[in-house]
Amino acid sequence: MINLPVLDDITKILFVLVLATAALIITIRTLTSLLNIYSIQSWVIAAVAFVLYLKNGSIVLLLLAILTIASKAFLVPFVMRRIQKSMHIKRDLEFRYLTPIGSILVGTAMIFLVYWSFSQFLPELSSETMFFPGAVIGVSLALMGMMVIFTRKQMITKILGYLTMENGVLLFSLFVAELSFIIELLIILDLVMLIVLATVLAFGIDTSIDEFHDKLNSFTLWFKE
């Protein structure tokens, strides 16, 4: 059995990594780097799930870690890279309302706001040491993802913002309560489908309608002519 303080320390280091990736996601312009950072963030969150599994031995957490790596570190970035290649967009230069520095400041303010509002409610729920910071960082990450959706113009960047939101929600759920595995699995499948659809739609905006329908049909092979 690994002793608990060490695991808590590892979790804290992983939290810092999560925040670092979040800071990069809200500021970076190059799309390929954004995708890479998203993959790294997913790995970090899977690592958090694994550490929590070592701590309390719940098999659902282990399965979640594996699922996260399979879907978020491999499958989603793979699909997005493929489609992005055919779109010829490399950088998302436009920030609406916020500059990168502004994004960092707003992001930091969000963390404080979430911390303050959650401290009014959540501590009633659990007495675990890592529960509260985990929940706060999870929701802050989700809000930062939402900020990316609202402040960036390129659809692909918006989708990455949405994916970051999902990672935040996942982190939150790891610390607050894990739902039954079948439900978690269905949720992840749902979200993967949503991302694939959104990516294909984003592709459609930048290409001709014929090419778009080709792509749409290629993801629904059975219905292809």
Partner: protein
């Protein structure tokens, strides 16, 4: 029973994959399958109502058949059946105009049928997390249905829909997780099963429950088109083919409202229910006001009808927030009335679009000569939707407003003022459109019988429901209100 739904749905989907017919006849073949599935589902829903003791639980209590669920399923299957008939002529015409390509038809109808399956099971969900999953699936499928048309604006509309709805739905998941943790704290075993939540609600911390409720509400509200999460709705409803606008407005918005209703029933068992009521009424009034003010300057018939849907969802929210048995009874009736009238309006708008190739009122010249049925549909539908007597919306509006008068007179006045604006918006547009004459740019379009029949059926249905309240429906609605614990 639930297996019967799944098996029949899958068999029909299987038939869709078969390539029996040449492209020329494919539209009708696929449409026949859609009609068959809607009819089978409607029959199964009626059978569930009659033969299954309610509530009954299935699949480890993840699914449940109770009266509220069957009511939702019946309305949805009925609307799907009407829409499937209408789609026969409508989609054929879309293919002729190259608004949709033949190669997209299979995808279109597959998504259509899958949507029906998902919708019915969303109503039959006992588990709120499973409900969330199915709600998200409805977003995916309806977005696919919107983009099968050959137009780029549709992709933009669908993307906006997907982004707004699913971003809001992620907040719901946070709320659901808090709720789950809350039940775990109260009883030792976490659950999101609605029947258990109803029993355990009293032991939950009201503060934390309200906290969870707000998060869950954001997602459900976005799906129901509640302000400020409504931004996707007007564009998606206006750009979608009319037969899909019907499903979005008369079926999918209801699921969001049903979710809020179930959650509110749980809240009613806690000490938090006054706060929750206040939240619902606040959002409801805001929604009605924003929708009403957005309707005045509209020139696009489908956008006008879409904003009217937002307004009605806001009104339903106010009705739910009142929380009296009478208000809830009429909320349930209003859901049915709104679904029927909205279907009539979108069906009529669909015919007008195919005649004039436009949704703008100023393009619609000589409507009574060219499309008398659609013109009447628009007039009767507009009168019915603003709540003119002898139409069913009048009954529910009157009764909910009477209940509202007991709650707060200022709120009643605000809502009445908004209704006046809405009525003016419909009146202005009808008065401007109907006498318009001018050079006819397009050949008169012969509307097929399959499109006319559902409209006539709706005329009859709306008038009958406005003047005669069936005893069976009354008992069912009373049963639902009781089962929700009011």
């Amino acid at each position: 029973m639930l297996l019967a739904y799944i098996i029949s749905g899958l068999v029909i989907m299987g038939f869709m994959l078969l390539r029996f017919f040449a492209p020329a006849r494919r539209a009708d073949y696929l449409n026949s399958l859609a009609i068959a599935q809607s009819a089978i589902f409607l029959i199964l829903s009626i059978a569930s109502l009659i033969y299954i003791p309610q509530p009954s639980f299935f699949f480890s209590r993840y699914l449940m058949i109770d009266q509220l669920a069957v009511y939702g399923a019946l309305i949805s299957c009925g609307i799907f059946l009407l829409a499937s008939f209408y789609a026969r002529g409508y989609v054929r015409r879309l293919v002729e105009l190259h608004d949709i390509e033949v190669r997209e038809l299979r995808l279109f109808y597959a998504a259509y049928n899958l949507l029906l399956i998902v919708v019915v099971f969303a109503f039959y969900c006992n588990n709120l997390a499973l409900f969330w999953i199915l709600l998200e699936l409805t977003t995916i499928l309806s977005a696919v249905l919107i983009v099968t048309l050959n137009a780029k604006e549709n992709i933009v509309a669908a993307l906006k829909y997907v982004f707004t709805a699913s971003t809001a739905m992620l907040f719901s998941i946070i709320g659901l997780i808090i709720l789950f943790a809350l039940t775990k704290q109260a009883t030792g075993v976490g659950t999101l099963n609605w029947d258990v939540l109803m029993q355990q609600a009293a032991s939950m911390s009201p503060r934390l429950f309200t906290f969870a409720f707000v998060f869950i509400f954001i997602g459900f509200a976005a799906k129901a088109g509640i302000v400020p999460f409504h931004t996707w709705l007007p564009q998606a409803h206006a750009k979608a083919p009319s037969v899909i606008s019907v499903l979005l407005s008369a079926v999918l918005l209801n699921i969001g409202i049903f979710g809020v209703l179930r959650l509110y029933a749980v809240a009613h068992q806690t000490a938090a229910w006054h706060d929750v009521s206040l939240i619902l009424i606040g959002f409801g009034v805001l929604t009605i006001a924003v929708a009403a003010l957005s309707m005045l300057p509209r020139g696009n018939v489908k956008k006008l009808v879409a904003f009217s849907s937002i307004e009605h969802m806001g009104f339903l929210l106010v009705g739910i927030g009142l929380g009296t048995p009478l208000a809830l009874f009429w909320v349930l009736f209003h859901i049915l009335a709104h679904a029927l009238v909205k279907t009539l309006l979108f069906f009529s708008a669909g015919i007008l679009h195919q005649q004039y190739h436009s949704n703008q009122f100023e393009d619609m010249k000589d409507v009574f000569t060219l499309q008398p049925l659609a013109a009447w549909g628009l007039i009767v539908g507009s009168m019915a939707i603003i709540g003119v007597p002898i139409f069913p919306v009048f009954l529910s509006k009157l009764n909910i407003l009477t209940e509202l008068a007991d709650y707060s007179l200022p709120v009643l006045f605000i809502i009445l003022l908004c209704f006046l604006i809405v009525a003016a918006a419909f009146a202005v547009i009808l008065i401007r459109t109907i006498p318009q004459t001018g050079e006819i740019k397009h050949e008169p379009y012969r509307v097929s019988v399959s499109m006319k029949l559902p409209i006539m059926f709706l005329f009859a249905g709306i008038v009958i429901l406005g003047v005669y309240f069936p005893g069976g429906l009354h008992n069912m609605l009373v049963g639902i209100v009781n089962s929700l614990g009011f």
